[in-house]
């Protein structure tokens, strides 16, 4: 029954978008987690989507193929009074771009809503099909 596959497809997309939203919230939460320049600074995490063919149905779902770390160097702030400042007075803060993350967040939540709507219409169609002949 092909309509049931819509649930699988939309469901896979919803979980992928939720994972993206998770990465965004983790990045935003850590946007100000400063460390010393010698320590390991938090790196922004980004999810990579990939299409997965559903077995023998011709439809295509989504999965998160990997979570990559942003390679841009940490932002250095000059703040000699900070307890974590190095001998030159610099503190390292994560390479999270807050504006980019906000855009990512809106995009992920809109895509999530789209898939919920897809699922709802498929459900309405299936329920209507169930009443066939009555």
């Amino acid at each position: 029954m092909s309509l049931f596959n819509v649930f699988n497809v939309a469901g896979s997309a919803m979980s992928a978008q939720a994972q993206r939203l998770n990465a965004v919230s983790s990045n935003l939460a850590n946007a100000d987690s400063v460390t010393s320049t010698s320590g390991a600074t938090y790196k922004a995490k980004q999810v990579v989507f990939a299409a997965v063919p559903m077995n023998g149905t011709g439809s295509t779902g989504v999965k998160v193929s990997e979570v990559v770390e942003d390679a841009t160097p940490p932002k250095l702030m000059y703040d000699p009074a900070h307890p974590l400042a190095d001998e030159k007075g610099y503190v390292a803060s994560p390479n999270v771009n807050v504006v980019e993350e906000m855009v990512n967040m809106i995009s992920a939540s809109r895509s999530y809503q789209d898939n919920v709507e897809t699922m709802n219409s498929a459900k309405a169609m299936l329920l209507k099909t169930l009443t066939l002949g009555q």
Partner: protein, 133 residues
């Protein structure tokens, strides 16, 4: 084949093709953010004509599939070969899903599916009227 089968076949085939198309459109919407994903759709009229012909002759024996990943020779599933959409405005990441087009097609296809259901309901009612007098 019985006469009832003959009566229902057209709408039944149309409905199943509508279902397949809905699934393809859902895939497109799901992959709106996937890099390099190419949106696909079917030519409903051509596929329906093809399916009706297949149903009436029943001659073609499909190749046996022994693994989940096996595809039909033409790249089709269930005799339906999807085609790729042409883009009006390209995307930087190689994705060709245009959300407006997809949502439009999805809603349109859903309404036509329900129209098909209504037709079948009417046919069933007609037959019941004929049986019960």
């Amino acid at each position: 084949m019985s006469k009832l089968d003959d009566l229902m076949r057209f709408q039944q085939t149309a409905l199943s093709v509508r279902g397949q198309r809905q699934q393809l459109l859902a895939s497109n919407i799901a992959n709106a953010d996937t890099p390099n994903y190419k949106a696909r759709d079917i030519d409903f009229t051509a596929v329906l004509a093809n399916k009706l012909q297949l149903n009436s002759s029943q001659s073609a024996t499909p190749l046996a599939k022994t693994a989940n990943q096996h595809m039909d020779p033409s790249g089709s599933v269930d005799g339906i070969a999807p085609m790729y959409r042409t883009m009006v405005q390209g995307n930087v990441d190689g994705n060709t899903v245009d959300m407006d087009v997809e949502r439009n097609a999805f809603a349109d296809n859903g309404v036509r599916y329900e129209a098909g259901l209504t037709m079948i309901n009417m046919q069933i009612r007609n037959m019941l009227a004929a049986i019960q007098g």
